[in-house]
Assembly symmetry: C2
């Protein structure tokens, strides 16, 4: 008998009708001879309602109390799911994060899991129960309720799977798995059968928002194999796992796109130690996350530094940068460009296969799409293009690597 | 510095605007130099919504999971109230029932408080915090969430006041206190300043639904003096306390009325041991609560037994009774009368003052109101009248005892 952890997100439990569907699926999984742990999120919309209530009583709610408030969302779902399972003749027991033994640090609203003591979970499973656990939440060292922040329920499921030594961990969602690209943009995008943690991380950070990076990072760190699949059908999903030798045979696993990017260029920066540091320190101190840093070769003792960031943070970035570079040199100036987007090709096969950047540029050039910046990492090649070009760019890159048909094999 | 426990019910915290009012009041109480514990209910309407969700997933929800579900109601309120207090510059920490150390038995949805360990509450108070506690809930011996059933938040407040040795316990509600009669029925009803536990219990069981009997019984058992007062103003309320010698000077403390009663008469019951027992056993086994039992004097070897009950339970009572008396004797039969109501005069002064029943009958007779049954206990005299007469009956009895002006003194 194997032990399966299933995680159901907010959309999958978004109504009592859907909760009943989840109950049926959980019971069916148990009937196949498995022990089942279901980790659930708050019903879709519930968290927004709670945030609205909080905003009505406080302009800046204390994080500790925000956790007490938000944790009611998952607690409602676990009770309803356990009732629904019972109604169908199953045996279920619900546990809050604290009751399930999920211990976190005290960093409220974005706590980290420190330890899981699954004794109670094992005891309930041994008695034949389906164990329903509230995702997203745990218990801080002082006994208070904590929450894990965005994507927290995925993290709860993966961490619990690790703690109980589960044979399988399924992240059930409203998509069939991870796709080679967003099917709304690239109609011939295919579902990926297997993807390595590193590829999944690069896809996530490049705009494929199936899961938050931190859950994937946790899974990688503790070697938890998991499957992203649909809560609406039983088709095989995408298995996210440690890299296997055969995986490198595929050069590009997928293409992702991120919209609402902006490009910042600081021109005529003195090419001397310390100036770049002052730029990036100012940006970091303001809590702004940047991406794709490019520094041109120096000429006449000055250089250009460019980077991208989310458009939402552009106004703040402009303010802190203009203050920071004010005393650099007379000609130093900040120029901004909005309305750009990023297209990234991701694949661990890139390590052993050259020419990815060249192939990507060729595909874009053939479609007359101008590239504004290029950046590469070990398993990703990313370009910045006009926002207006991003969908066409994704399609031609996706087709250029043959992702719509079947994976290109590096050795073929 | 004194320690005050304040309990705010569902109406008092029924909106975020009202929660902000409660926050102001709690802060004002602390500013007067007191340590404050606030015990709160779920926002009005929230529990009904949760029950509706439960009914959508299950025809017969497990009680254990119902408690997990319902407990989210108070948890939402404690977080919002703590945030609101913080927003106004106060320091508040919220605690669930379990976190506040409220240990109950495992009788889910109607658990009894077994013990309170207020160590954490004291620690937080000592640090200058206002402590916000979720009423209605506790922790069962197996670590699960339990709830206390109807009126549970009052019970939480009174039990907590006892456990922490509070100097005062205030039950804040949407009325000014306990009245000599329902002011909607008797316009000249007055607020009672002091009432004994026993009188309060008789008033509650006779239709004055300010509080559930069990909370008053708990307060009596542990000698917790409490005040029922308004959350909308700071007028003195009604103090509920141990009987004091001067209290007996008032013959009648108040008049209460209970509508929707029905009268059951079992006629021609053989006047032999065992028959009455079979009637009441059948009723009790069906879980039906009855009141005002009257047995007439035996005549010709048969007797009549009458009692009252809530109209809602009449159909079920009829069924079980007809089955139970079927083999009594040929002439035994059950007759039912709906559309009656009860008027009760309550006062500990009755013990030392005779003639209360006579005075009551005279008042009713003068108004031409027919009495269908009379029943007396040590501190209560109750009559059953036609439902159509109940308001007039309450008014004339209330006036007859001079309750609209000032209490009649037994010795005057």
């Amino acid at each position: 008998m194997s032990l399966i952890v299933q995680k159901y997100g907010g959309t999958s439990v978004g109504s009592t009708e859907r909760i009943k569907n989840v109950a049926r699926r959980v019971i069916a999984t148990q009937a196949e001879g498995h022990s089942v742990i279901a980790v659930v999120s708050a019903m879709a919309g519930v968290t927004d309602n709670l945030l609205k209530l909080a905003s009505e009583v406080s302009s800046n709610p204390t994080k500790r109390e925000m956790d007490v408030l938000l944790a009611t969302g998952e607690q409602t779902t676990i009770a309803l799911l356990a009732m629904a399972i019972d109604e169908l003749g199953g045996n279920a027991v619900s546990l809050t994060g604290a009751q399930a033994g999920i211990a976190t640090d005290g960093d409220h609203t974005k706590a980290r899991i420190k330890n899981i003591s699954p004794k109670e979970v094992h005891r309930l499973l041994d008695d034949g129960n389906i164990v329903i656990i509230a995702g997203f939440q745990g218990q801080a060292p002082d006994g208070r309720i904590s929450t894990l922040g965005r994507g927290g329920s995925d993290l709860s499921a993966i961490a619990m799977a690790s703690a109980v030594g589960a044979d399988r961990c399924q992240i059930l969602t409203d998509v069939d798995g991870v796709y080679t690209c967003d099917p709304r943009v690239v109609p011939n995008a295919r579902k990926i059968d297997e993807i390595s943690y590193d590829e999944m991380l690069e896809m996530a950070s490049s705009g494929s928002k199936v899961m938050q990076s931190r859950s994937v990072e946790f899974a990688k760190k503790f070697g938890v194999l998991f499957e992203v699949c649909s809560s609406l059908n039983t088709n095989p999903g995408t298995v996210v796992m440690e890299e296997k030798p055969h995986m490198e045979a595929v050069v590009i696993r997928g293409v992702s796109l991120e919209r609402n990017q902006a490009k910042v260029r600081v021109g005529n920066v003195p090419d001397q130690p310390g100036f770049a540091s002052r730029i990036f320190r100012a940006i970091a101190d303001a809590g702004i996350i940047i991406d794709m840093i490019v520094q041109n070769t120096s000429e006449d003792g000055v250089t250009d530094i460019s980077f991208t960031l989310n458009s939402n943070e552009l106004a703040q970035a402009k303010e802190v940068l203009e203050q920071a570079v004010g005393d650099f040199a007379e000609g130093t100036r900040v120029t901004l460009e909005e309305g750009v987007a990023r297209v990234s090709a991701v694949g661990i096969g890139m390590r052993s296969h050259s020419g990815v950047a060249a192939d990507m540029c060729t595909s874009l050039a053939d479609s007359n799409i101008n590239i504004k910046m290029i950046s590469t990492s070990e398993i990703k090649t990313a370009v910045i293009v006009d926002e207006a070009d991003v969908e066409e760019a994704a399609r031609v890159v996706h087709d250029g690597f043959g992702l719509g048909d079947k994976p290109i094999l590096a050795e073929s």
